[in-house]
Symmetry: C2
Subunit: 214 residues, 2 copies
DNA sequence: TTGCCTGTTGGTCGCACACTCAATAGCATT
DNA sequence: AATGCTATTGAGTGTGCGACCAACAGGCAA
């Protein structure tokens, strides 16, 4: 490996080092879980000494919260880009459900499940979860509102619709660590899209129809 | 306290001691969380030495799984008794939603959230979660089927309806550790009942109408 | 090239955890 | 009252964690 011989120290600017630490922690959070964010684990990841992590994050809990925020935030951008480009709200939404149905979304489901549980014991994380939850809801609400204005969706309360859809998505996410997550009925796995179609006044199947263009 | 002076040992039958240990662990799981089930914690609870817990559960993970099963199982019996008595399925269901709406249900929500996350790392727990999940689904399905036969409910697939309702309930349960769990719209908190009414062909409000008899 | 600021190290402390096992002492049986 | 089975203890092992801090050295400024 790269460190079989005592490694030369590399000195970086505080901002760069801090960003690097948060990025490494976010990666660990997504792939292994928030409780795997330890001083030793992240230090090893970056090939530095644990003390250095402590230097930037005197309390590990703050790093955990930061890592969650980073991971959840960038996943949101991947799933529901703030800028729709030239896609219609319906296309955008359909793409969202396509992405959240794949196995690639399992890591994000696990992350949220993880964070929501760990929030019980870690106030800093609890606050971050609240922030990200608001961000997801607002991003979703904006999309709904957009669709309503364009006449594609029909609902009296865009935020309420958004929350309801996300709650159902969370409900399915609860099952992500189950032994047999993929042998319950298709109707169950289609629940988030079905909920969206109902709440937004769309014809059934609109959001799960196979691959809309790009 | 009762142990300020070296305590006299009390010798119990293996079955009794084991049951006592599981009960203590289940109580800790419900009130403080599954990760608080440690040899020391449970031993202190029962005023015995940690080694004794190890004797009955050579691997702590098995105690954790057992404790979850015990807690989830008896909560299910409290929420959806297998024997309905003389209540109609509708009354039974309404009572279920009344109970799952109160703060008393928060501990159960936390337990499920906890277990589903911890399942990621603990195979024994994962299996227990699967067993309990099946138990909850089946108990619920039996109630639905019962209601369908009596002409109170209308659905093509009782198990599917049961699963869908439980998924929504889980989705709300995800929020149990949030800062402001009770300031989202009433429509959100009524989601499980609303889902049930829709899936079972009941008039809106049937299941949330104030206090049915007993 | 030199000097200094500060990012980084290495070592250490105290704590909590699961797990092991020989020795002890309840208590049912006789 | 004596005996023997076995439930229970006490003591110890090793691991991993967060936190702390004096000493070191990279690399920019002079």
């Amino acid at each position: 490996m790269s460190s079989s011989v005592p490694n030369k120290r590399i000195r970086k600017s505080p901002a760069a080092r801090r960003a690097e630490i948060v990025a490494a922690a976010a990666a660990v959070a997504l792939s292994e879980g928030l409780e795997c964010i330890t001083l030793r684990r992240i230090a090893e990841e970056l090939d530095v000494r644990p003390g250095l992590i402590s230097h930037y994050f005197p309390a590990v809990e703050d790093l955990v919260a930061e890592a969650f925020g980073e991971a959840a935030g960038s996943e949101l951008d991947g799933l529901l880009p703030a800028d729709r480009g030239d896609a219609t709200p319906t296309q955008h939404l359909a793409r969202f459900f396509a992405r959240t149905s794949g196995e690639a979304y399992d890591d994000i489901s696990r992350l949220w499940l993880n964070a929501r549980h760990l929030s019980r014991y870690r106030p800093a994380l609890r606050d971050r979860v609240a922030v990200q939850e608001a961000a997801w809801r607002n991003r979703f609400e904006a999309l709904v509102r957009d669709g309503v204005e364009l006449g594609e969706f029909r609902t009296e309360d865009p935020l309420l619709a958004a929350i309801q859809i996300l709650v159902v998505l969370d409900g399915l996410g609860m099952l992500v660590n189950s032994v047999d997550t993929d042998d319950d009925p298709p109707a169950v796995r289609r629940m988030p899209a079905t909920t969206a179609e109902r709440e937004l006044g769309l014809p059934a199947g609109t959001l799960t129809a196979a691959a809309n263009s790009n």
